[in-house]
Each structure stands twice: as C-alpha cells, then as structure tokens.
C-alpha cells in the first residue's frame, strides 16, 4: 500500500491534492474526507482552532495505523493523509484523506476506520481560539 503523510502548517489545497492522484487501472474507487473547522466548539463561537502535535509520535502512530489498514484491507492501493497544524481558521480544512481501492466498500470502510483510530491514538490536540 502506497502511503503519504503530511503534517504541516501549510494550508491544505484540496484541488491540487486531487489533481495529483495516482490510480492504477485495477482501481475503481477513491474516497475523500475533508474535515473543516466549524464555527462552534462545544456550543461556543470560535474563530479558529490551534492544532498542536507531538510530531515524532504522531508520525509513528499514523504509520502503525497504515500498517493495520493494509492488513485489514489488503486491496487498498493508496492512502494519503494531510493534517494541518497551527492555527486553522473557521471554514478551512484541517484534515484531508484519500483512500484508493478497487471497490467502494473497502474504501469507505477504511476511510472511516482510519479517522476513528486517528482520533483515538494520534497525538494531535486542539485549542479553540475565540
């Protein structure tokens, strides 16, 4: 499984990422998730979220998740994940994910699984900014 992980303070340019997709002839499904900063956090109006990470551990934990994903869904060809760090304003993406697989079900299942697991184990934290 091809994997590409980016943890960066740079804005996420989804159109550029999508345009750079590589997909072999056996693949039929690309599932994307874009997580966007919402205007409220626990019913408080916010302007932005400041994301902090313990980078070395986050990278290690993401790669463990990619390894596990490969075991669970061996047909997946590629996973690309971008998580933005630092201050991300409301309405801007903080997370972008692409899963490429031969068919829909495993692409959707893996995408949801990866986000759920990331939220459980990858050391990234949010600080809402008023």
């Amino acid at each position: 499984m091809r994997r590409e992980l980016t943890l960066s303070t740079a804005p996420i340019h989804e159109a550029t990422l999508v345009a750079a997709r590589k997909m072999s002839a056996g693949m039929g499904a690309a599932v994307y998730f874009t997580g966007v900063v919402r205007g409220t956090e626990e019913s408080q109006t916010i302007a932005a979220i400041d994301y902090e990470t313990f980078r070395e551990m986050a990278e290690h934990q993401f790669h463990k998740l990619f390894d596990e994903m490969e075991r669970r869904w061996p047909t997946i060809e590629s996973a690309r994940l971008v998580h933005r760090l630092g201050v991300v304003r409301v309405n801007e993406p903080s997370l972008w994910l692409e899963i490429i697989a031969p068919h829909r079900p495993e692409a959707f299942a893996a995408a949801q699984w990866l986000i759920d697991e990331m939220k459980r184990t990858v050391p990234i934290w949010k600080r809402p900014q008023p």
């Binding site: 994301y51 551990m57 934990q61 903080s94 990331m118 990858v122 050391p123 990234i124």
Partner: protein
Amino acid sequence: MIIRIQFWSYFKDLTGCAEATEELPLGATIDQLLQRLHVRFPKLVAMKNSTLIAVGVEYQNRSHVLREGDTVSLFPPVQGG
C-alpha cells in the same frame, strides 16, 4: 536513573513547563514516576484518569518499567481531525 518528561497540550499549562526530569531508582515504573509528578505538579492529579502516557513514541500503561534515558510523554486525550 534520569527520566525526561514531556508535557503536551494543556498539560503544559497545568505544570507550567513543557519538559522536566526526575531521578528514579532503577526498575521504577511509570506509576512511580506519576506519584512523584503528582507531588511536584498537583494540578495533574485531577487529570489522573484521562492522562495518556507514552515512552518514546509508544503508548505504555502504568506498570511499564522505565529505563535510563527514557523520555516519557504525558498528555490529555487526543483530538485530531
């Protein structure tokens, strides 16, 4: 042995620092380290049940035995996405 400790997210606010060191007897566990830290940084006590602990880049539980040179990270539940 000297153990280096890193605090992350609002644990830095609770302790007032991002890093600390503790000297512990050989064979000490994470639990023993936490007891020391709870005395030194009492605001961490309230977070006791939700504290996540890593040694290096791996999660470990409280019975894990520490070794010279280990870096222990303490942080609240993660919230990526």
